[in-house]
């Protein structure tokens, strides 16, 4: 009984300690991001890496998500004789939920894992120590530009996801299944409000922060060689994904 309590206590302390370290890390990174000198070139490089290089996977995922929504939505709505609401259903699903969540999950898989691995390899290769010996703050140099890059890229990718997804839904609903194009877009226009778009933007911003924060943190504190990098990368992807889904629920309840 005592050992069970001890074990529970140790796990709790570890969790609190880990959370505290993550918060301190985030605080240091955000502070560094707003204190000069600003490294515009490094930020642009990260926007290119996280944003531009994720375009293909985002477009592909968005198109098929929209197409599936169009297909499923059409046959579900037809049961109630409401095929005309397909445009609203597709657009609201994408803008409110699927766009921000799936974009963030795709960025986690494509760019987040790479961020962790890159920083983790720098850690085990003593490159981060090397930066410190040169008097360069590794958090400012490595972490802040990545977080800023993600904060810029993820909302833009989400906006693109929404547009491509709606086009995918249009393709299936209108071109394939014969829903009237005017009705499709007309209902969409009347049902989607500015609040939906703004809420989607806040979510994508929060998810961009989660992905870059978790992934850089895991990479920065990588230990024990190649196996450590592998472990950090896996745990970064899992934790980011879980936090995105949990965060989505929390934000939805707050924003609705």
């Amino acid at each position: 009984m005592l050992s069970l309590a001890e074990s529970l206590g140790i796990r709790t302390l570890r969790a609190v300690n880990g959370l505290g370290r993550m918060m301190i890390f985030l605080g240091a990174a955000m502070t560094s991001a707003v204190v000069p000198p600003f490294r515009a070139r490094r930020i642009l490089r990260q926007i290119h890496f996280i944003g531009v290089k994720s375009l293909f996977v985002i477009v592909l995922t968005a198109a098929f998500t929209g197409m599936v929504l169009g297909l499923q939505g059409y046959y579900t709505l037809r049961k109630f004789g409401s095929e005309g609401l397909l445009g609203s259903a597709v657009a609201l699903s994408l803008i409110r939920e699927l766009g921000p969540v799936l974009s963030a999950l795709m960025v986690t898989g494509r760019a987040g894992s790479a961020l962790t691995a890159e920083i983790g390899i720098m850690r085990i290769g003593e490159q981060i120590d090397s930066l410190e010996t040169m008097g360069i703050d590794p958090v400012k140099f490595l972490v802040s530009p990545r977080i800023v890059g993600a904060l810029v890229s993820v909302p833009l990718l989400t906006a693109l996801f929404d547009v491509i997804g709606i086009l995918g839904g249009y393709l299936v609903g209108v071109k394939l299944l014969g829903v009237n194009a005017g009705v499709f877009f007309g209902r969409m226009e009347s049902s989607v409000e500015l609040t939906d778009i703004v809420n989607g933007f806040w979510k994508s911003l929060a998810f961009g922060l989660i992905v870059s924060w978790v992934c850089t943190f895991k990479g920065f504190f990588t230990e024990r060689g190649a196996e450590g990098v592998s472990r950090s990368t896996t745990s970064a992807v899992v934790l980011s994904s879980v936090l995105i889904l949990v965060g989505d629920y929390v934000l939805t309840s707050v924003l609705l």
Binding site: I121, Q127, D129, T133, M134, I136
Partner: protein
């Protein structure tokens, strides 16, 4: 530590004056535990100014951790690390970063940035930490690369280099800011004897040109003794012998003699 005047036999260069003033680095009662294991157990060590000091000992003795204390990469649990009388363990992060401009460090694996070319790696500390113009940076980097015999390798990436070339680039990078103190963490481990000697010779020559303070961890025993002025022997997280090279070589300590001769029999049993 104080020592006799010294002549660099390998380089054949002139005798240097005796060390002046206080030791540049002083470790006083430094203790450090990592993951529950006591790594440093009360280290007391003085590093003389403008001299080459070799730190030797068995693997896992705490040499690298001790070296990292000297540049503030690791903070001691107890004790003090003084650089010219300033306890760097008590400095704020920004003050410590300013202090580090006096140092250069060569890591065991070179720690070159994979995404940068050789030229960019060497130019990196100048671009990040100085206000030098690009022309001056290029000039200085070319000069340093020529010193280490890699003037034609500026456009290559680290993964295109051999182990010896990586160490030489790292050496050029460590020296490019003209630091007062350079720390070497096993600069020659894993290299063949010819490259090893060429790197030690290079360190020795550049030392004579710039006369910085050198602290070097090495397993090249007894060869290292011809390149250094002072030796500190570390065992189980403690300094068990420290002084001018000659006196350490003649030490009566059975462990020191076992380490120097590489005997299997002795106070340390590994099997």
């Amino acid at each position: 530590m104080t020592g006799t005047p010294w002549i660099c036999e390998p380089c054949g260069l002139e005798k240097l004056p005796d060390p002046v003033g206080e030791p540049v680095i002083r470790l006083i009662g430094v203790e450090k535990s990592l993951e529950g294991k006591r790594v440093l157990d009360g280290i007391d060590l003085d590093i003389p100014r403008q001299r080459i000091t070799a730190i030797i000992g068995l693997s896992g003795a705490g040499k690298s951790v001790m070296l990292k204390h000297m540049i503030g990469l690791v903070r001691p649990d107890r004790g003090r690390v003084l650089i010219d009388g300033v306890d760097i363990a008590r400095l704020s992060r920004s003050a410590l970063n300013k202090f580090r401009s006096r140092f250069g460090m060569l890591f065991q694996g070179g720690a070159l940035f994979d995404s940068l070319t050789v030229f960019e790696n060497v130019a990196f500390p100048l671009r990040e930490k100085t206000s030098l113009g690009e022309g001056e940076i290029r000039e200085r980097v070319r000069e340093r690369l020529a010193q280490v015999g890699l003037q034609d390798a500026g456009g290559k990436y680290p993964d295109e280099l051999s182990g010896g070339m990586v160490r030489r680039v790292a050496l050029a990078r460590a020296m490019v800011t003209d630091p007062e103190i350079i720390l070497f963490d096993e600069p020659t481990t894993g290299l063949d004897p010819i490259i090893r000697n060429s790197i030690l010779n290079l360190i020795c020559h550049t030392y004579h040109q710039h006369c910085f303070t050198v602290v070097m961890i090495s397993h090249d025993i007894p060869d290292i003794f011809q390149w250094c002025h002072y030796v500190a022997v570390i065992h189980d997280g403690r300094v068990i012998e420290a002084g001018p090279t000659d006196s350490v070589v003649k030490s009566v300590s059975p462990f020191v003699q076992q380490l120097i001769r590489g005997d299997i029999a002795g106070p340390v049993h590994l099997m």
